[in-house]
């Protein structure tokens, strides 16, 4: 079985799981599942850039911003485009921006690269202030995305359908990324990450590789932003703050840098940890001053605890525990 077939089958299996899961939970959980889906896309893109290619980006929120506004503007001004065309164009627009950023990033290292991408995250949303008529200023844009096929209207609730669309897109992208990471281009990315000089000596074009990595990663960010706009019907600068870029980074570290499974754990944590902390504070009936800051504090505490206990993130931790478990079993079998 080829790698692509195997990944595609896994993807289909996962999609079937999502369809079953969304059919049994309440509509709001559908929204949360869809939210995990688009965060997964963004974190997966980031983990490809950082984990596989060794470049850092503090500015992925900016690519989500581009994706969300692309979808918003297309829905408002070109209403005849189907939603999937809007999503593709959102990914393409962010990919283009990523290639431009990558061209600059290819010349920068470590803290300088972090600084440049940070500037992007802080600066880009301010463009809405420059063009308030087209981009809605601080208010941003509000719209309704029609996507439910007429055949399904009435039988499938809107939120469930949205979760399906987000996850179909996310899984398609993950299959693509899994192949990229495991294939020839993945080896090239890792070679550049590990040692640029030897990679160059082996005939790899360093700059081009880095730009391509940035392009691919930004494309994921744009798609995530597009999916967010598709799901929530909003694109506003207040949603794409530096905090968003940093929380994507935190989710990546929490899940495990460089692993697509890690991206899944990170995205799950991003959605559900604050939710649980919020439920907990409400159950404990704490004062508002404590309650309003607890979800953020809990997320921070979880991040610190995971990094201390499993330096490789949640995915690394799971792998290690599994390995230990199996080794124990093997030794058991070997010495009856």
């Amino acid at each position: 079985m080829s790698l692509l077939t195997r990944h595609a089958l896994l993807g289909l299996l996962a999609l079937a799981g999502i369809v079953v899961l969304t059919s049994v939970v309440d509509p709001y959980t559908d929204v949360q599942i869809a939210t995990v889906g688009y965060y997964l896309v963004a974190v997966a893109g980031l983990t490809l850039l950082t984990g596989t290619n060794g470049q850092i980006s503090l500015g992925h929120g900016a690519f989500m911003f581009i994706g969300a506004y692309t979808v918003a503007l297309l829905v408002i001004h070109v209403p005849t485009f189907p939603f999937w065309a809007d999503l593709l164009l959102a990914a393409a627009a962010a990919g283009l921006a990523g290639a431009l950023t990558g061209a600059a990033a290819a010349r920068l290292h470590g803290p300088y690269l972090a600084g440049a991408t940070l500037a992007l995250a802080v600066g880009l949303p301010a463009i809405t202030q420059r063009f308030p008529d087209a981009l809605g200023g601080s208010n941003g844009l509000a719209f309704t995305v029609q996507s439910l096929p007429t055949g399904l209207a009435g039988t499938v609730p809107q939120t469930r359908w949205q979760a399906w669309v987000v996850w179909t897109t996310a899984l398609l992208l993950l299959v693509l990324l899994a192949n990229v990471v495991r294939g020839r281009f993945g080896r090239i990315l890792r070679a550049v990450r590990d040692d640029e000089v030897s990679a160059a000596l082996a005939g790899i074009h360093i700059g081009r590789t880095k730009i391509l990595a940035f392009l691919l990663s930004a494309l994921c960010g744009g798609l995530a932003g597009g999916l967010q706009a598709f799901l929530l019907g909003t694109a506003a600068p207040g949603s794409f703050t530096l905090a968003l870029s940093l929380s994507l980074l935190a989710a990546m570290v929490l899940g495990g840098v460089g692993s697509l499974w890690g991206a899944l754990w990170g995205a799950l944590a991003l959605v559900f940890v604050p939710q649980w902390a919020d439920d907990l504070t409400k159950a404990l009936d704490l004062g508002t001053d404590v309650a309003q800051h607890l979800p953020i504090a809990v997320f921070g505490a979880v991040l610190i605890a995971v990094v201390l206990a499993f330096p490789q993130g949640i995915h690394g931790g799971i792998n290690r525990s599994l390995a230990r478990l199996f080794r124990k079993k093997e030794t058991h079998e070997n010495n009856p």
Partner: protein
Amino acid sequence: MRTTRKALAAAIAASLLLASCSGAGEPSGGGGAAAGDAAPGVTDDRVVIGTHQPLTGPAAPGYSRISVAAKAMYDYLNDAGGINGRKIDYRVEDDGYNPTRTVEVVKQLVLQDQVFAIVGGLGTPTHSKVVDYLNSEGVPDLLVSSGALAWDDPAKSPMTFGFQVDYAREGKIQGKYIAEHLAGKKVGLLFQNDDIGRDAQQGLDRYVKDSVVSRQGYDPANTDVLPQLSALKDSGAQVVVCSCVPAFTALAILTAAKLGFHPQFVVSSIGADPVTLTGLLADFAKRGGAEVSPAALLNGLIGTGYLPDVGQTDDPWIALFKKVHDKYIPDEPLTNTVAFGMAQAYTFAQALKLAGRDLTRGKLVDAMASGKIKGPGLTPFGFSKESHSGYTGAYVFKINPDTSTTVIQPPAVTDREGGDITPAPTERVTPQDIGLG
């Protein structure tokens, strides 16, 4: 391998095409759920309502206290037996003034908590993202905590009602006051770069368009207003109209002081609560490593308002708010922001009472539009079948050296277009007249 890939691509393309036959931005054929007889969140002894508030984020300073005050008022009314035999279960969700979070938490309130209505959702950039959703789901969306004109659109948003005086009416009243009492002075405008700024300028420009020398917008995500204040200073503005939320009123005042720029500030009701501003000025200055005298900075500031000031202890509404405050939230400073939250909660409770024991969403909306809602404000509500606009005017006040306030122009009412500004009717109802708790 190659055939698998082709087949996969074909399958993907086919599924994508099947999935969507019509454009993403085209209106769908089916209408939204009608409000009518639905009554989710209502049981024999309880009614669940929800709100989205900025408990964290850029608008939290000041505004995070509104829901605390509203909760106190609901507790007071519940302890007095509730409304029509039902206790009000008030669910507050934090959206951090982030529109994405607003959509998420409002969906949570509607889909998971199954709220009967959304009451007092706060913020223009935030709430504008959920108006279509709430109206298409048929959820009453009452007393929005923002003065944007967008909430008053009964044809398009039949479920949505405003609360505050809208920014256009308020801008007209500010503009006329400046044209009459600060005639000949150069005017600079500082505003939040969304509907607040747009609507306020629409009102101001009817009176002071020719005196305006500079227009500066700020984005709530960026707390540095030095460029805007420098531009205002350079333009020679002698009066600065600040259509700002409390945090940015405070930032503007501090930044101006730092620049040695001392214009006459005229601040909209949303950002002109003296007690809240005093706290914010001291807090922000301390974080910046400076000691300031908030009272000195605020002295002489002109503001507009539509609710009685908490300093007016002889006002029957302020007496009620003080009573509720002292019993339920005694540790909280009693500010105009607290009074806002209580006034809003009381107004909702009044609509709930009017809707009757046999409660449905349709009846609640009818009660709001009945014209019978009278509130704590010094100007009347505009609620009717044709208008969903909240308070219809404002008074003008000045902050004294001890941060108390003096009314310098009595309440006046007007419309959102080109109509005249006329004195507000003086008769008001008292809490005893309405008799909820």
